[in-house]
Amino acid sequence: MKEEIIVSGRMNPMVDPQLHIWEWPIPLYLFLGGLAAGILVFASFYTLQGKEEKFRTAVRIAPLITPVILVLGLLALFYDLNHKLFFWRLYTTIRLESPMSWGAWTLMVVTPLAFIWSALNIRELFPRFDWKYSWLKQLETFFRKHIKVIAWILIIFSLILGVYTGILFSAFNARPLWNTSILGPLFLTSGLSTGAAAIVLMSKSHEERLHFARLDIILIGIELFLIVHMFMGFLASTEVQIQAAGLFLGGPYTTPFWLFVVFMGLILPATLEVLEIKGYRLPLIVAPILVILGGLIFRFIIAYAGQISRWLY
């Protein structure tokens, strides 16, 4: 029998007996960031493609919620900070090695752009909206003129934001479950997928819904592929990563992960969407809601399970 104990009664809050420094605000923040990134990627992509009218929801309506989402995410992050008065320190330095740093800067770029984008489309919600002051109107004209430039910046930074939500975790060598570079693309894909689902949910155009449902099926396929790939990577790796994968393969997170994320969050909605494309009449909101919930649960599970996974010594 091998026995390993901490004899000095160490019980540091939030670290012992196992790490739980990051509670619900962090996975929520990452989920909201990914969702906003997904919506904004589609909005700027179809703007650049010149399909603003064809995918009106994606380009004009869905982005209206992104400022709210991003601010909620940032509030969650802020709530999680333990030394809140020093928050401004984030923006006195750029540290490229630290995902938290460039993530903060990315958000510093994306959030104002999301506000501008929404401002430009505010009349979708309030058709008679008037900017009142002439300098605001001038500003509106200026941004509208350079919408393609904004779209280019936005698509790049939104993709970075989407990847960042995964990289934030994967940069932690200390937590073997997180320490896989697949987490970046995987969270990006998941963000795009939830973004697409949000658009489906909001769109009133059958054609647009169908388009994004198709897109979503592809994204879910990629996600499943990446998940399988992630586990293959873990299982082919060192003992610590095998043990980390074990959390999902027989360990405490097996049921929540495979049932709520993989089945109910990916496979089931993909199946429903396929059926819908094939012409079956189904309640339209089920599939996208499952995708969004799946994405949310996915972030929570990865955040919590990752903190359990550790090096063995």
Partner: protein
């Protein structure tokens, strides 16, 4: 200069004096600790072995906590020690999550705290870190690795040693004599 510490697992009795001395020296609040003692028992009665380790921050050369810190609050200081400037820290917790040794804890005042090798309060005044100075078994050695005559250099030269999870790539500077 490169400060390092060596722990003689053959002499350590696990009394945790290092922990108490650190707490009183560094005003570590009750209920928290910067160092701790691990006991590993291996074997089956009566063929047994025990390894006792006084553990703390490894003051890594490639410190994940410094790397992930968004503000530079976690930084390298004299002799490669890894320190935290509380006035730069936003309390995001990334450094705590990034440490494979779980050597950091969130101080109730909001910033992460951990072993400093007693750099400013003792070492720079010519004293040994509190844990080293107090250890009744003299199982802790501290000094400059670049000075071949320092306590730590000498003991590492003559004894077999290991570090904890070197495969994590952190280049730790807490050595365990085995």
């Amino acid at each position: 200069m490169r400060y390092a510490m060596a722990v003689d697992t053959r002499k350590c009795v696990g009394c945790s004096d290092c922990v108490v001395a650190c707490q009183t020296e560094n005003d570590v609040p009750i209920g928290y600790c910067r160092d701790w003692v691990v006991e590993v028992v291996d074997g089956t009665f009566p063929e047994l072995e025990i390894e006792i380790r006084s553990e703390r921050c490894n003051h890594c050369e490639n410190a994940p906590c410094v790397r992930c810190c968004p503000t530079g609050a976690s930084h390298y200081s004299d002799g490669g020690t890894v320190l935290v400037s509380s006035r730069k820290c936003i309390g995001c917790g990334a450094c705590i999550a990034s440490c494979p040794y779980d050597a950091r804890y969130p101080h109730p005042d909001g910033y992460p705290d951990k072993c400093t090798f007693c750099l400013t309060n003792r070492v720079q005044k010519g004293l040994k870190p509190a844990c080293v100075a107090v250890c009744p078994t003299k199982c802790l050695y501290f000094g400059d690795l670049e000075d071949p005559n320092s306590d730590v250099s000498r003991v590492l030269k003559i004894r077999k040693w290991k570090t904890l999870i070197p495969e994590a790539g952190t280049k730790p500077h807490l050595y365990f004599l085995i």
